[in-house]
């Protein structure tokens, strides 16, 4: 079938409401009788609640109710769960201490901002005033914030029942003895000890929730700024509040960005839902940016030692990793999976490394939870591999492009050639790694670059180029596989295609759009598959009552998994439609072909349109015997494998030798995300990812002081990339179809964030080497001060 929309940069249909200010985010919603919540939070990272005095607050104007941790404890609600279980190397279950909604008297806060009470009042201002009047007596205790320090003897304990602050230890790959042996035999070993710093996600819309219990129908509604309404409903109903799911509706209206941070089930969601029933009125809570900094799950935060062994010709022989991953104080929804199954499993990279071993400790600290942040584990794996590659090239005096090429896994399409089995559990679907590198190098004009670099150095300017080639795993993933790896949910997606009697189509998707443009891309797919105009297609998402089920949007999975579910339903629609059409045309189904919105008897001009068939399905007067009326199908799609996008990112930087300031001169990204439905949207996803990845390299990073205070918890202190920090990006694409889903798509949401960080850091290191400063590492973010110090050493 010819495509009219797929592959085109169709302008987004959702834009109209956003550009006119008519978007409807959770905080924009007002319900009759709505109250407002404000939390009383711990000013200490680790402190015991001695007593709480509500007397002053209770009598303040407008106060409706105040609940404390003791109230919650009395109900028997334990707290929010994690959705993934990782076992210790010895098979023991990971430590999973409870994450209470509010801290009870006698218990301890475990990170700054941990809540002890919630004040509900007629207005937000009244709630804030009264929450400030709640007197809490604290006993301050020692805290630990660094994952490596948390593992040392004598470190402050986060949970009494997790000795050594260890949530789990974990390993993956070839037996350690074999890897040790291979490293020992290597002609050259490049080693690197580094910190992949803690990132704060910073979606521009702060989290917002409205809990609304309606007594007359005994039903709860939760409006939430979430990436996955059904998952929130499942977790909240089954694991936190013990509510019957059919009595709970979760709505995810317009959501202002997530980047991972809005996947997770947060305590406040459960709390406003629960409290709404206690006061029998709706309750809204919208976090302040200060709270967002403190409380939205952070990302990354690894302390790592990595060694890569090469033979005399530069062929990679082995990779050995030891990592301490910070999990924060409580295990968030996906937290245990991120440093393990989304990180360890990617350490093959695009190379044929025969021996790989990773040993990892998941650490509790007195910091907010660390969970998936754009890329989730894969940026950490890519950072490690690609830093090692460029550094090894410098150390061995080899060309970084050549060194990669000689170690690349050869191209394979996954159809006539098998997928590539890695040493770390995954099987890649299809890849052509040299293709993207060649194209990137061409765009860079590499042949002239070294000359320019030398000339620049002579003129006192340091130019550097950094390469990064990555492969990642998206479209998470076969339920049976993730289940075996500890996921406590399946990871399929659902879609319903409801053909209306007039031939217009409503599609209900379990994926959730918070900037990705599903309303457009999904409609492109549906319109082309049915041969109807896009205007005839409406995409509905974000409502657990409307959509059968869904696992939501993260891990670049929406089109690969959610889109495939839609295609499955469309196939069912067409199959049934053909029966009706055959009856109308008085022929056999096999004689029909479907194109451009109509069924035609092959070789004739006799046809019946999609709209006609739809009407007949609902007005079944002349109708095949035994066939049910209606044209409405649901499907669940469970992917056969992850998808494996890959690409090549190249950064060119200039380093000011006087000040250490890094200027990003060029950024080239050649990504292969499989087939592309809407190039404009895919480019937009890459741009956004690049900005976040570059932000990590040069600007961002959470800083806790030794007492566990987050000392850069505001936009005045945490450096997010602004418009004038970034250049125009130079993008190109290669399309290697995914062999195992009907659209051949792989996913583009995280790619930009995965490849870019090491490219930038490599470029700075390269610049420094060219100026005679052979440094191995500079700690991210590469602030002028750090770069300057590196040049002095």
């Amino acid at each position: 079938m010819s495509n009219k929309y797929i592959g085109q940069s169709v302008r987004r249909t959702e834009d109209k409401r956003y550009i006119t200010g008519k978007g409807r985010y959770t905080d924009d919603i007002k319900l009759v009788g709505m109250t407002h919540a404000s939390f009383v939070r711990s000013p200490y990272a680790h402190a015991r609640v001695i007593s709480i005095d509500l007397s002053a607050a209770q009598n303040m104007p407008g106060v409706v109710a105040i609940f404390t941790g003791d109230d919650i404890k009395a109900t028997g609600i334990v707290g929010v769960p994690t959705g993934w279980q990782v076992n210790f190397k010895n098979g023991d279950t990971m430590k999973e201490p409870p994450h209470p909604l509010l801290i009870a008297t006698g218990s301890t806060s475990k990170h700054i901002g941990d809540p002890v009470a919630v004040v509900i009042a007629e207005t937000y201002a009244a709630a804030v005033d009264a929450s400030e009047a709640v007197e809490v007596e604290w006993e301050e205790l020692d805290a630990v914030t660094d994952p490596f320090k948390a593992a040392q003897e004598g470190a402050a304990l986060v949970h009494a029942d997790a000795p050594g602050n260890l949530a789990f230890d974990w390993e993956l790959g070839n037996p350690l003895s074999e890897v040790d042996e291979a490293i020992a035999q290597s002609a050259h070993v490049t080693s690197l000890e580094f910190v992949n710093q803690r990132m704060i996600p910073n979606a521009i819309e702060p989290r917002a929730y409205i809990g609304h219990y309606e007594e007359h129908i005994d039903k709860y509604t939760l409006y939430t700024s979430t990436q996955n309404p059904h998952l929130i409903r499942l977790l909240m109903c089954a694991f936190v509040l013990g509510l019957p799911e059919h009595k709970v509706r979760v709505l995810g209206p317009d959501v202002g960005g997530g980047f991972g941070s809005k996947i997770f089930h947060y305590t406040e969601e459960a709390l406003v839902t629960w409290a709404s029933k206690q006061i029998n009125r709706p309750i809204k809570w919208t976090e302040t940016r200060s709270e967002a900094f403190m409380l939205d799950a952070h990302g990354r935060d690894h302390v790592t030692k990595a060694e890569m062994g090469f033979d005399a010709d530069g062929n990679v022989q082995a990779l050995r990793i030891k990592t301490y991953a910070n999990l924060g104080a409580y295990l968030s929804t996906f937290a245990p999976a991120v440093p393990t199954y989304l990180h360890g499993t990617l350490l093959q990279g695009l190379y044929t490394t025969p021996k790989i071993h990773i040993d990892l400790c998941g650490m509790f600290t007195h910091t907010v939870a660390v969970d998936a942040y754009r890329g989730a584990g894969r940026p950490e794996a890519t950072y490690l591999l690609e830093r090692l590659m460029d550094l090894a090239a410098l150390e061995m005096g080899k060309d970084p492009v050549q060194l990669r090429k000689q170690n690349f896994i050869p191209a394979f399409n996954g159809v006539s050639e098998p997928g590539y089995q890695t040493q770390v559990a995954l099987q890649y679907d299809s890849g052509n790694y040299q293709g993207v590198l060649d194209r990137g190098v061409e765009m860079l004009g590499y042949e002239n670059f070294r000359q320019m670099q030398r000339e620049a150095a002579q003129n006192g300017k340091l130019l550097g180029v950094g390469f990064s080639t990555y492969v990642e795993a998206c479209g998470i993933a076969p339920s049976a596989v993730v289940g075996a790896l500890g996921a406590r949910a399946g990871l399929y997606e659902s879609a319903q295609v409801r053909v209306q009697p007039t031939g217009k189509v409503s599609v209900y998707s379990g994926s959730h759009s918070h900037g990705q443009g599903h309303e457009t891309t999904f409609a492109q797919v549906v319109a082309d598959k049915l041969g109807i105009p896009m205007e005839d297609v409406d995409i509905i998402h974000g409502d657990s009552d409307a959509v059968a089920f869904g696992m939501g949007t993260y891990g670049s999975r929406s089109l690969a998994v959610g889109g495939s579910a839609i295609v499955k339903s469309i196939e069912k629609v067409l199959e049934k439609g053909a029966k009706i059409a055959a009856h109308k045309l008085e022929c056999a189904e096999g004689d029909l072909e479907y194109a451009e919105g109509k069924w035609t008897v092959k070789g004739t001009d006799q046809s019946v349109s999609f709209g006609d068939v739809a009407l007949t399905a609902y007005v079944p007067h002349v109708y095949p015997q035994g066939l049910e009326p209606g044209l409405d199908f649901s499907s669940f799609y469970d992917p056969a494998n992850f998808t494996y996008p890959f690409g090549c990112h190249i950064a060119v930087v200039e380093v000011d030798t006087e000040t250490g300031k890094v200027t990003l001169k060029r950024f080239i990204a050649v990504d292969d995300v499989g087939n592309v439905v809407n190039p404009m949207i895919v480019d937009g996803q890459i741009h956004g990812g690049l900005a976040q990845g570059i932000g990590q390299a040069l600007l961002e990073g959470a800083i806790y002081d030794e007492n566990g205070q987050l000392i850069n918890g505001s936009y005045m202190d945490y450096a997010m990339p602004r418009a004038d920090d970034l250049p125009m990006f130079e993008l190109d694409r290669q399309e290697t179809p995914c062999p195992h889903n009907p659209l051949g798509v792989k996913g583009a949401g995280e790619a930009g964030c995965i490849g870019s960080t090491p490219a930038v850091v490599n470029a700075v290191i390269d610049a420094l080497w060219s100026g005679g400063h052979p440094v191995k590492d500079i700690r991210m973010p590469l602030t002028p001060e750090r770069v300057w110090r590196a040049m002095q050493s």
Binding site: S9, R11, R12, E14, D15, K16, R17, Y18, I19, T20, G21, K22, G23, R24, Y25, D27, D28, K30, A125, N202, A203, I204, E205, P206, D254, V255, G256, G257, F259, T288, R289, S290, H514, G515, Q516, G517, M680, I681, D683, G684, Q685, H687, G688, G689, L690, A691, Q692, S714, Y715, M716, M720, P721, R722, A723, D724, L726, M728, F729, G752
Partner: protein, 162 residues
């Protein structure tokens, strides 16, 4: 409580407000103009940008009472009368200058003020002008293009009407 009278998007409103009420909250809560967003508490993100007497202002950085007697335009009232969209609104759609849309309204309001005084800006000037507006989704690339597109469109429109 203090009484204020403001003209917002061409309509005059009078309200009794608490002296501590921020203008951003007044627009959102009292007038239900929720296109003005709030993204921070340090006047750093620009999501709440509006025009006050023709100039872009972060509406979270002033009190409603300070706007007494002023004329305000929010995103809901930006499109010139008779047309559905302002060239910047068109430009953002045309060039995919938005993803989640949360920063977009403030971004457009800032850019609109900027283009008034800089009808023919360079890329660098655009980036500099929008430095007070955070976007976490787009990496700014397409925002710059959207503003360039709008500048071009506004020039053409002017040429036609001139």
């Amino acid at each position: 409580m203090a009484k204020i009278t403001v003209k917002v998007n061409g309509k005059v409103y009078s309200h009794e407000v608490e002296p501590r009420l921020l203008l951003a909250h007044y627009l959102r809560e009292v007038l239900s103009l929720t296109g003005t967003h709030i993204g921070c508490d340090t006047s750093s993100c620009g999501s709440c940008t509006i025009h006050l007497d023709g100039q872009s202002v972060k509406s979270c950085s002033m009190l409603a009472v300070q706007a007494d007697g002023c004329e305000i335009t929010t995103i809901e009232g930006l499109a010139p009368s008779g047309s559905e969209l302002h060239p910047l609104q068109e430009g953002f759609k045309e060039c995919h200058g938005l993803q989640c849309g949360f920063c977009t309204t403030g971004m457009i309001m800032s850019a609109a003020d900027f283009l008034q005084s800089n009808p023919d800006p360079s890329e660098e000037q655009i980036r500099h002008a929008l430095e007070g507006n955070f976007c976490r989704c787009t990496g700014y690339h397409n925002i710059v293009k959207s503003v360039q597109w709008a500048a071009q469109k506004m020039k053409e429109d002017k040429a036609v009407t001139a």
